[in-house]
Symmetry: C2
Subunit: 629 residues, 2 copies
Amino acid sequence: MKTRGIRLRLAQMEVIPADPAANTARMLDLIEAAKKDRVVLIAFPEMAIPGYLIGDMWEREAFLRDCQAAGEQIRKASKGILVVFGNVGVDWKRKNEDGRVRKYNACFVAHNKAFHGPSKGPYPFVIKTLLPNYREFDDSRHFCDVRKLAIEEGKKMEALIAPVSVNGLSLGCILCEDAWDMDYGVSPLTILGKHPLDLVLNISCSPFTLNKNHKRNQVFSRHAVTLKTPLAYVNNVGLQNNGKTVYTFDGASCVYDSHGNEVTDLAPFEDGVITFDLPTDKKAPFGRPVTLTEDGITEIYQALRYGTGKFMRLCGATKVAVGVSGGIDSAVVAALYGTLLKPENLLLVNMPSRFNSSTTIALSRTLAANLGCFYTELSIEAGVRLTAAQVDRLDIRSPDGRLRKSLKLTEFMKENVQARDRSARVLAAVASAFGGVFTCNGNKSETTVGYVTFYGDLAGYLATIADLWKWEVYALGHHLNDHVYRKTVIPDACFTLTPSAELSPAQAVDEGKGDPLHYPYHDRLFASWVEWWNRATPEDILTWFLAGTLESKIGYAGNLRSLFPTNAAFIADLERWWTLYQGMAVAKRIQAPPVLAVKRRAFGFDHREAQTKVWFGRRYEELKRKAME
Amino acid sequence: MKTRGIRLRLAQMEVIPADPAANTARMLDLIEAAKKDRVVLIAFPEMAIPGYLIGDMWEREAFLRDCQAAGEQIRKASKGILVVFGNVGVDWKRKNEDGRVRKYNACFVAHNKAFHGPSKGPYPFVIKTLLPNYREFDDSRHFCDVRKLAIEEGKKMEALIAPVSVNGLSLGCILCEDAWDMDYGVSPLTILGKHPLDLVLNISCSPFTLNKNHKRNQVFSRHAVTLKTPLAYVNNVGLQNNGKTVYTFDGASCVYDSHGNEVTDLAPFEDGVITFDLPTDKKAPFGRPVTLTEDGITEIYQALRYGTGKFMRLCGATKVAVGVSGGIDSAVVAALYGTLLKPENLLLVNMPSRFNSSTTIALSRTLAANLGCFYTELSIEAGVRLTAAQVDRLDIRSPDGRLRKSLKLTEFMKENVQARDRSARVLAAVASAFGGVFTCNGNKSETTVGYVTFYGDLAGYLATIADLWKWEVYALGHHLNDHVYRKTVIPDACFTLTPSAELSPAQAVDEGKGDPLHYPYHDRLFASWVEWWNRATPEDILTWFLAGTLESKIGYAGNLRSLFPTNAAFIADLERWWTLYQGMAVAKRIQAPPVLAVKRRAFGFDHREAQTKVWFGRRYEELKRKAME
């Protein structure tokens, strides 16, 4: 690159997790196309061959052999072209600390049928140095750390982290987290920067998270400036999951010039390539300044729509039934599926009981009319009556007659009977007869405190909007009407109706009665518990409330003193929801469907939790004692 | 210890996860009692103050402050006594690699109101060196590794790993995994062994796993011999979980003499202390030879009973409803609860449909009679008929009338309707009216391949026997009759009946029809996929089958060629179950109740998995092609 330009291609391909054959076939096609286009270097994402979020598949040696064989195919295809790609690096002679074979999260550089690694390193590949073990990441579970390798080899880190010299180029190859070095004791880029570098390549498998791209722009453009070297970033698209939590990958691949400006020409979530001629002079500017606008509901919509479509295909689901209540949550879910499915593959089912108002039934029908899809109403009255008749006042006894007892369903139990009748009896059967799956429509606010019934509204094949607070559900609804459909698909009244489960007279929407949550406050309160990096606890919340700063701390627009006239009222509310969040809601989340993640701390693998006694903390107890005096 | 004996006490206490106040109060009581008994050194388990499996509680700074304050209470109580205990070690001035505050899994040594750490170390506590990141363990998610600290400090490992010298004693303090060093690049005990040592102390928080104690006896006694030093092991009892998987802790604390012989006097799962006068001469023998019998069904029963009882208390459940089918699984679950609950707190519910034989209904009644508990029969016929009437031949249409369609429930769908009617409609309502919870009775064989219905038999508050293969369920049933009840509580016919879901005429037990699984073979096949450390894959299975060695490899007593007359038949069976295990069963496990773990690779956190396309592997496809020729 010192004397000539370099035609660079970033392959923002869809990586299919646990399908090395399909990924490799795709890569071979892309390599052949790149050769025809006189591309000098084509770069693929991290773990492009195996996929990344594949649970404990790494423990299967036959799978590792498949991945290695696939890597060999890529090597053999590298005649006349530089191919950089992610794969698992296996050392069959060493062990990981779990006693299984040694594995690295590795970046391979192939050229003219040979692999090239750092000159003094023990392997013909580059090892990921910084292994993330937070959020949904478990890198240390499967992959060996360069620092442990350095101690094992009796070498300094600098001997293992070095550029790859190949075809006259000095490439600084890093993997994903390696560039996010601010909190690590080691900086691979600082070590690489001590060498002459023509190009830094970051290959990643980095899920979409609200506002991450903007953070990445800040971090990566600064690296390019510091190193005075262009930095190319290649990330995959597609869908990967670790069971409980489902992630979309938006790609967002790009190149930064040595001034920190950016070039990209692929939309997020788009499978395709970026081809770019890097100028001969590595200090020559070629990018546009990075704009740091924050993501909003548009990006959330993109990610949810993309992820839902991909997840349906993963499950083989082509038809979807949505239980619609007339409320905003189910309406938004239905409208979202309406963007993915033909009307004949979408079925909305309204399942009223005697507690459902004609208002919400009419709204459900209007929603279906606006979507033009299948619709049916199926009352749960008969089902609920049957269960009540069978169970309420049921006489149970021991066969010898010694024990006798009559059972009694309370009104609260009957609320749960209704919810289960809807999902597990009616909707599950209707969806199967329709030839499809049914959705879970719970939002993040409800999921946080388990305001949901086991085997009732908790059920479904995917919790499509369980990473959205209630206010975000409203915003998504408006986005769908205003910018996606460009007409009123979700009826206006869905936005203004009192949110209600309509399971009892106490939840009569037409009388303005409904959920016990005051969403404008509780959404923000729950976000401070769940989504903040340093997560707030009752101690923090009570401290701020007593100081009069809680509203500004959590971003609540109202006045809490008018919502809670006394300290006792505030504390009762706080304890009610914290107890549920840390108690029964944990049990419910354990049995919840997979959550489609769009933000930091989606429930599931990004928010690990145990069922324990509910902890408040000793300082909280002191504060409470004083506040109650 | 060179000139005098030392009175040692190991506190095998129950640690309550996420309850530092309760744990600390207990520890202070035990310290006071130890002082009265002239104990020189009292040792508590790893993470005795916070608990260990507490999800992401570690991210809450107020919780960390609680734990630190609790540690201070212990320090202040250490006048005149040596107290060794586990707690989180916090360095507020440094960061972990996730950007949160620096945390260590630490062993504290308190004496005369002061903490004592290794003399050249940066902290007044001992840091866990070997952090397990396999099975259910995620140590690197929250705790900093000594090796990373060594690189950060520019020090050798030897400077950080050293004995604690206190009160004239040289103590080699290690934490749990530190002694399981065979697969690690660093051995803390080898480094400690270069110093004079009076005693090695291993503080642990190590869950019960079938046969682990015997392995531990081998490993730890060898360490004591190698170091020529007595080694004391203290482990907690109690129950901890990480949401999806629930672990029991059996304690099994003991002391090894420098000849590798053992002294212990507490039963497993027993909350209590071991007090022991170590001889003045550290080489003096005092233990009995370690007996290496393997665990069996007795230990599984102990763990299941202990864990079930503790889990009930954690959930606040005092009454339990068990859906009993007359089959062995539900009978064993009912009999297990019968050992924990008074008859008036246990309710067995038989829910026949037209497909249930009078045989199994009678067996259910006999089981209840033998247990003397509540019993009822509640037919699901009316519920199933109602659902079929409402859904089968349901006309759905779009509100504008453009789309019209009639739905149809197939016989297979109606099987699922039955299963859901039982659990989500009837049993859930009955259990709530009874004032209790209901159990999930699925075994590990069914759970592996998802031979279970969503919101049907998959439901429940705890999957009590989901870590037991079918053959282990039978063994547990015999153990309950023969050694626990010492009479026939589970009717003999439950052991001989053809296992069947009784959901269709094709599953008529009285005609010897039932599950599509041939348990004696499939149990062993599934174990090779799930429980083997190097997990078998279709490639291995087919290779062994073709070589005629599969029976001996997996321990199947029969002849597979008589079960599968052709290669094609064998392959069809293999692919059927592997596809389910890696496919639909993953989706079902995501929504399954918590699993009570007793062995390696319980489902959930010890067996992480993603929903992906089902992988077979390229070598498997080749083998199959040849085998089918």
